[in-house]
């Protein structure tokens, strides 16, 4: 039995907390990850 591999229709009606949409949450995660990496780079090269 093979299906098409396409994403099924969304059937989850729980509200998306704080950010309102999944797209905004994902964007927040990516921005936060980049920010953390930037801070780590700063920490790593700071002239103590």
């Amino acid at each position: 039995m093979e299906d098409t591999g396409r994403a099924p229709t969304p059937d989850d009606h729980d509200p998306v907390p704080i950010f309102g949409t999944w797209r905004r949450i994902y964007a927040a995660v990516v921005v936060c990850a980049v920010l953390v990496m930037g801070l780590v780079a700063l920490f790593s090269s700071w002239p103590y």
Binding site: E2, D3, P8, D14, P15, V16, Y26, V30, C32, Y48
Partner: protein, 555 residues
Amino acid sequence: MDRLDWAVLAAYMVAIVAFGVWAGRGNQRIDEFFLAGRRMRWWAVGLSVMATQISAITFVGTTGQAYTDGMRFLVFYFGLPFAMVVLCVTVVPFFYRARVFTAYEYLEKRFDLKTRTLTSLLFLFGRGLSVGVTLYAPSLVLSVILGWSETTTILLMGGSTIAYVIYGGNRSVIWTDVVQMAIIWFGIFLCFGVAIAQLPAHFGLRDALALAHTTGRLRIMDPSPSLTAPYTLWSGLVGGFFIMLSYFGCDQSQVQRYLAGSSLTQSRLSLLFNAFLKVPMQFLILLTGVLVFVFYHFHTPPLLWNVVEMRKLESAAPPELPGVRARYEAALAARREAAESFAQGGRPAGAAAYLAANQEVDAARRQAIALVEGLNGGKRYNDTNYIFPSYVLANLPAGLAGLVIAVIFAAAMSTLSGEFNSLATATMIDFYKRFVRPAASDADDLLVSRILTALWGGFAVLVALQAGRFGSAIETVNRFGSYVYGPILGIFALAVLAPGASARGAFWGGIAGEAVVCWLVLRSPVHFLWYTLIGAAAVFAIGLVISAALRAEAA
């Protein structure tokens, strides 16, 4: 350890087993036993995902690694937040809506039975072999630190975990993980705070960081494009991204945690919770290791961190030992003096003198290590995992030291519980209920599920009890996950991203991809962080080519 420490450790062990049994009461069906009735909230699942991922060796090993080598290991987690987003968009909705028990069950719906069976077997092979090491490695460290036999620590840690997982299944796993993760977080902040507080009054945090920076221990971002160098920025971002995709997206020990979410939203939020917190948490753990390194500039560190090996060396009393010890003590005194003058405004001129003194300490220690290795017939000696527990026992106040040892137990048990539960689930759902008894009663299914949990737990204990005999093979087995993650990820990528991929393409692509990984392991110097990416890419490409060829032939 002080009596109060023993009391804290004993209280933890008794309380966690009792809580696990209480939290897991009332299972009537296997969906309750394996998926906690799909009723869990995101924060509980998120903490469980985090607890399953952080093993005891991650906790004591990375602090030790930061002490000896620095914080480079942090890059390993850089790909994790991006992997979580990709998983939330792709496989999590598929798994959730397919109402599956195992990730591999979905592959039968998408491809066929043999692809599901192959992938589940790869998981059982990789995870089954490493679960014994997951138990053995912290047991060995704790046995040396606590002065117990290895058998005692293995039976205590393995037996208590098996007890509550057999009884309560995934609900026990998740709720005990929540408690254990709370203890682990508390322990991390405690150790970090104590390490700062124990720096000398005239030597501030900035001085400590400056000292660590001089030795290169704060150098995290290595932009080298090398495929063989360990922990470069790119191996962490790209290689780590694919490892995390495979681990969180295709490894049943993680998938089973978020399948227990009460809705797709809850499952997704549990992963995103980890995306936000994992890198900062690992940063704190590694920085604690670095601060312990600075701490031992002002307190005398042992010549060797493994007390058993040190005693053995002292009993053998090789003629070189007094000289090595004298050299070590003189080097420590010189390093302390250099560190003081470095902090009192001697930068950057004092840096060279300090580095020379630090290298002399390392050289003296290398001599001692050579003596131990000579005594053990050339067997490699590494005491990185003993540094942090030794520091805790020697320098934390009574009660708190016991608590941090309990944290190490908690980290080990939270990983083991998830692994026992997931191994039993894959065996039950992908094999027993698929091939042996598809239509048994709930009571029978529950009984067999508990028996399988006991068997996998017993298997882990047996492997751990024998692991000392395998010697260096253990290291290889410990990396087994990276040998099978690539092909598993490649098969799932074909399932989700390639609508044209066929069942035969996925199956033979998986076999060919595993052959490619075997070749990498046996014949190439490529660092293991890249195995998952290369293995997955091979499966994906070969699977697509085979699928296209079969389509062309049929046309």
